[in-house]
Symmetry: C2
DNA sequence: CGGATTCTTGATTTCTCTCAACAGATGTGG
DNA sequence: CCACATCTGTTGAGAGAAATCAAGAATCCG
């Protein structure tokens, strides 16, 4: 928790953005709309509260966001991470109220778009509408994979899955090189993501390291050294998973 | 399984369907498309397999469907129940492959629509597109509520939540009268829905009954007799929940 | 009727949480 | 620059919640 919205606008100069399988360049009106609503936000800033009436769609340009729900006694469940090119649409059934918290995990560059504007954008750009569908489909696929592990998986399975999911998602962004990647997360984040306590995340990760499945370096630099075994623990085929949860360039 | 597959095959003659907040009558071209693709399916029939390439959108007209994922060792997680007016779109990120199983829990009347046709329908009917959005938003809200409980809730909390969610969803369908409703489910279904074993579902339900929170009659006729306490266990405000997870008529 | 589910309850085991203590890192202000 | 507070990560010991194993009762179905 720190200083707020400070960070002045320097290179808010977005020249292109890939959403789903679609590249939006300077000649796209959609990109101009993104630009008009760009904000740079600091890490840990909450962009939207669950239940908030003034609901907005948030497009990630740079950095990590997370969507979450929290229980009355303060426990948090991360619902999904939103990476560059992802679209967080927190709207619930009434079409007005947010059903999620959205917060910045790292400093991030986002486009915050009022619902009305967003709907107009979708109507005016079939490409954007299509990209939006792809991104939503990818998110749905991720959510159900994760629900399966939350409901039926062991701690090992949940964490193995989380590592593989994030690895696969970072790959097309150029942020995962041969199963080595950096997670800007604490073990608490991983716990909130997998429905475990931070303590148990620690134990389980260390066990993975002891067993030669992953290596870790300073603050969450991860390298998966035995993808085959880790996949087996996660109950997943990595390539099939990648196809289902990340929109691939065509 | 049981009787409720019974529903006689007479009125496959669909004269209107409410999807989200929208009524589609005989004068709607969308309804005609639904009609052209109507199928009656028996209980337990699997309509679509996770991973299946020939992916379709399924609109529920009557009865209960469930979407699910299963792990390699055969454990099942129900992702969501689909009730009349709901739309099951199992498409994953590649836009072609199904990311979910879809099966009939009861005998059901459904409209099975190929993806291409579905997209054409959405393009041609802004009302249908709007209804689709509402239904999807409601589903997203339900999924995140449930993920919170799967990750962070006790068995009591999960089951209490499930009962309240289903109660709230059945209400606008006229199937829940003053918190009394019938669930065409076994305790195993509830276990697969809440990520618990059937044994533990049984214990927990009986505890609720002993404590005067709910009454049960023959095979899953439920009456919530103390909604206040049950809501507290579920960590939910019933009316707010209802607004977030069910599309309300306008 | 007989077989197959489903439900119920008890006894035991297993997994994860909770509590606790400490080390390392980070950051702050004097 | 140091003293100090605050996070984060690590590890151990013990408690608690749900799973597993098991066996019998109730129900459904052909």
């Amino acid at each position: 928790m720190t200083r707020q919205g400070a960070i002045p606008i320097q290179y808010t100069n977005v020249t292109s953005l890939r959403v789903g399988a679609m590249d939006f360049g300077s000649d796209d009106t959609a990109l101009n709309s993104f630009r008009r609503n760009v904000q740079r936000v600091p890490a840990n800033k909450i962009l939207l509260h669950d239940g908030e009436h003034n609901c907005k769609v948030i497009v990630v340009i740079e950095g990590w966001l997370a969507t979450s729900k929290s229980s009355l006694n303060g426990e948090v469940q991360l619902i999904d991470f939103m990476l560059p090119g992802d679209i967080a649409d927190p709207t619930s059934a009434d079409g007005k109220t947010a059903g999620l918290n959205i917060e910045a995990v790292t400093g991030a560059l986002v486009s915050v778009i009022p619902l009305a504007v967003w709907h107009r954008m979708l109507a005016e750009s079939p490409r954007l509408a299509r990209a939006n569908e792809q991104v939503q489909a990818a998110e749905r696929a991720r959510l159900s994979e994760r629900m399966l592990r939350l409901g039926r998986g062991s701690a090992e399975s949940r964490i193995a899955y989380a590592l593989i999911e994030l690895c696969m998602r970072l790959r097309p962004l150029g942020l995962s090189d041969n199963c080595a990647f950096h997670l800007p997360l604490t073990q608490r984040h991983i716990g909130d993501f997998t429905g475990l306590t931070a303590v148990h995340v620690c134990r389980t990760l260390r066990r993975f390291v002891r067993n030669g499945l992953v290596e870790t370096a300073d603050h969450m630099d991860i390298r998966i050294t035995n993808l085959a075994t880790l996949s087996e623990i996660a109950g997943v085929e990595p390539e099939r998973l990648a196809a289902e949860i990340t929109p691939l360039p065509e």
